[in-house]
Symmetry: C2
Subunit: 109 residues, 2 copies
DNA sequence: CAGCATCCGGAACGATACTG
DNA sequence: CAGTATCGTTCCGGATGCTG
């Protein structure tokens, strides 16, 4: 998927959702933020992401897709807070479906 | 993700689900098969996949993950049918959640 | 602290030709 | 028909070093 033009343009709702969920970290980031707003380093630590570039990229894309907001506080040292939009919050239902599926049907093998 | 060892080994249910849904085509393949068993060429045509390699790879992985079965009929010409397992069928709930989310919250921008 | 710039390896995806 | 075998390209994800 193109890096900064991943707007949902697909006709199909499922494909639109896939455009957002694409990428290794998107779902995990959203899940993390469902627990409340987080700062850059908090996310990085929680998700065990080594490279800041990886996280920054995903956050920018999700912001651009309207899933989360990025708020910069002009302080020293700087503080940047990421928070889910309503659209991001409503992803909870999808996450719960995924969790239920992963739990019930994918218990070891 | 490794090509042929993508078994769900993660602790977390969501992460297990992600291990299966990874890859551009997995979800779309499952969705297609929710409409009933399909043959190789049918899937290829329906999903507009140019390269057979891409499709074969995904199918093998999903089979290995217990999402679908592959049945070979010893005929001439050969006939191979892909069909969802119970586990694959139960993915419908996740798909519906995704569709609802993509529909309600991602309608254009 | 929250990134940006840069470089890198590898995996995913894809096109094409060929086979049992 | 249903693949396999090859080859090529894109590009994501990650490591590292530096900066406002």
């Amino acid at each position: 998927m193109a890096v900064l033009d991943p707007r949902p343009t697909a006709e199909c709702p499922v494909e639109r959702a896939l455009l957002v969920l694409d990428g290794k970290w998107s779902v995990l980031i959203i899940r993390e933020l469902l627990g409340g707003p987080k700062r850059f380093t908090e996310l990085r630590k929680a998700l065990q992401i080594g490279s800041p570039k990886t996280l920054t990229e995903r956050l920018r894309i999700l912001e651009h897709q309207g899933v989360l907001t990025r708020t910069v506080y002009a302080e020293v040292p700087p503080r940047v807070v990421y928070e889910l939009t309503e659209r991001g919050q409503s992803f909870r239902s999808v996450l719960e479906a995924m969790a239920a599926w992963g739990d019930r049907d994918l218990t070891l093998r």
